[in-house]
């Protein structure tokens, strides 16, 4: 049979069926299908004779309530972050002390001052280790999200947000890719395939990167641990809510100017509530969490080694002072009784940290940093943060990995302090602290909003089949990030926060 014959037959058959049933073919097919399902169902399932208000109905009556719906959603989110942050503190401490111990063992194991010692202790343990520390928090967050998903609540969240989404010209369905984006933007962007209207789909894809993915969590966790230890859950929550708010605002703008048109109708199936099983939740948590570990062992490892290389070479730059001679002089001063032992120790320590600083500034990374610094200075960031953010384009965890490597450089022979404590102490050349709570918060905002990672850009390209949208997404998110961070930082300074 060729195609024409098939089509002819289809037309003939549907005319025939129309003649018999006096109805549209679609209607007949659907009726028959559900009739068939019903037949099997009646034979296979027995149910109590009395129709009662099911538990799902009762829960829905509260959760989907017009007044309570959104507050309940916001409260559950807050609870999730509070729970994640509070419970992860203890296991994170374990990982951190394990990493310190490993760093100290390795620095003794390799020859002092060698490039290899530096690579292992500063590059790998300092960089990858600072990302690995946050494994407990990632797993706990994914655990909470798995509970919300398996229980059937996440679909309700989409429903509750429909009213909001409707106002911005999208519907509740678009909220599901956004919620998925909280785990990772890539499945979030791919989930946009279920949105059938092209303009809705593009809008949802373009705002998805504002949903704060798991890879950004290490950056927040580092900064919150260092600067907001008491209010961790709340600060984290505010960042996530800011991301959702920005996504909604940008969607509204895109829908109005870039893709105008009426809102598509909204239909969605709501699964019944179920008690999540421990096994199911653990499997979900594991599947997502393990991706994070794999990433740490591959792309982040590679990124940290690259940062280490750029931060350490040229290995022997031309220094402005002859540090070795100055150290010798201090020692001979002690020997000839000109200065006390404490004074000599202090002079040598100062010289060493000055040398380490100069070495880094003369490295390739230092040069790159100097190019970036003017761009990020108005946001209160120094060149190290600038370089970290630059590397974060590969994967957002690398922001932390880079800082871990940069701060480990030149300190390998000392007892290695956690990165958290090192950034608390770092200062500008004029002695003012680089990191204040305001800078830390601004950095979180910037990390939340700026350019999606390379993998997300790739997925946007695949899903839209053009380079126009991924480039647009990278450009506009970075612009938004800069503007919002600028407002937060300069505004915060104006009202005297920083």
């Amino acid at each position: 049979m060729d195609r024409r014959e098939i089509l002819d037959q289809v037309r003939k058959s549907s005319e025939h069926l129309k003649g018999i049933f006096d109805d549209e073919v679609e209607t007949i097919v659907v009726d028959r299908r559900y009739g068939f399902i019903n037949g099997i169902y009646k034979r296979a399932v027995s149910r109590p004779a009395i129709e009662r208000l099911s538990a799902s109905d009762k829960i829905d009556r509260i959760v989907l309530n017009r007044v309570l719906g959104i507050p309940i959603f916001l409260f559950l989110m807050w609870l999730m972050f509070k729970f994640t942050f509070t419970l992860s503190e203890v296991p994170m401490g374990w990982v951190e002390s394990g990493q310190e111990w490993l760093g100290n063992v390795c620095s003794r194991f390799f020859p002092e001052g060698s490039a290899f010692q530096s690579l292992v202790v500063e590059g790998i343990i300092g960089g990858v280790g600072s990302v690995i520390i946050f494994v407990p928090i990632i797993f706990l967050l994914f655990f909470c999200m798995a509970i919300l998903e398996d229980s059937g609540y996440m679909a309700r969240a989409a429903f509750v947000m429909d009213r909001f989404m409707h106002k911005i010209g999208l519907h509740g369905r678009s909220f599901i890719p956004m919620i998925l984006g909280l785990g990772c933007n890539i499945p979030g962007i791919m989930a946009c395939r279920t949105i059938d209207q092209e303009r809705d789909r593009l809008t949802t894809i373009l705002v998805n990167p504002f949903m704060s993915c798991g890879a950004r969590l290490p950056v927040y966790a580092l900064l919150i641990g260092a600067f907001f230890p008491e209010k961790g859950g709340t600060v984290l929550y505010s960042i996530y809510i800011l991301g959702i708010a920005m996504a909604i605002i940008m969607a509204k703008i895109f829908r109005k100017y870039l893709f105008p048109g009426p809102t598509a109708p909204f239909v969605m199936e709501l699964p019944p509530y179920r008690m999540p099983t421990i096994k199911g939740v653990i499997i979900h948590m594991w599947e997502r969490g393990v991706l994070y570990l794999k990433k740490a062992g591959t792309i982040i490892l590679a990124g940290c080694v690259l940062v280490w290389f750029l931060g350490n070479f040229p290995w022997n730059p031309e220094y402005s002072k002859d540090y070795d001679r100055l150290k010798q002089e201090a020692m001979s001063d002690l020997a000839s009784g000109l200065i006390m032992k404490e004074a000599m120790d202090e002079t040598i320590a100062n010289l060493e940290s000055e040398q380490a600083r100069e070495k880094m500034e003369k490295s390739y990374l230092g040069h790159l940093g100097r190019i970036i610094e003017p761009v990020v200075k108005p946001l209160g960031f120094d060149w190290k943060i600038g370089v970290g953010l630059f590397g974060g384009f590969i994967a957002k965890e690398i922001v932390v990995g880079t800082l871990g490597t940069l701060y480990a450089v030149g300190e390998a022979d000392e007892e290695s302090a956690p990165l958290r404590e090192r950034i608390q102490k770092d200062t500008w050349p004029d002695g003012k602290k680089i990191y204040t709570p305001l800078t830390a918060f601004t950095l979180m905002v910037f990390t939340l909003l700026y350019m999606p990672c390379v993998a997300a850009i790739g997925v946007i390209y695949r899903e839209t089949n053009s380079w126009k949208w991924p480039l647009f997404a990278a450009g506009y998110t970075t612009a938004v990030a800069w503007i919002v961070s600028f407002i937060v930082y300069q505004g915060g300074k104006l009202i005297g926060l920083g």
Binding site: S56, L64, D162, R163
Partner: protein, 75 residues
Amino acid sequence: MKGGFMPLSMVNPGEEVTLMAIHAGYGLQSRLFSMGLSPGVKMKVVKGAPGPLVVLVRDTRLALGCGMAHKIMVR
């Protein structure tokens, strides 16, 4: 509304109604059909307008936008 149809969006929560017609384009109509919303089916409104509705159809809970509920005529 004796004998007449009314839009689903006007049904109160807890009421049970029968779907009579869908006033929508071909694409939307066949989409709703395939989700089990075909003429003659009985549905119970769990949550009514304003805002999106939740209806129980063939043991499935469906969320429907309010705009769509205007186009679904029931009795």
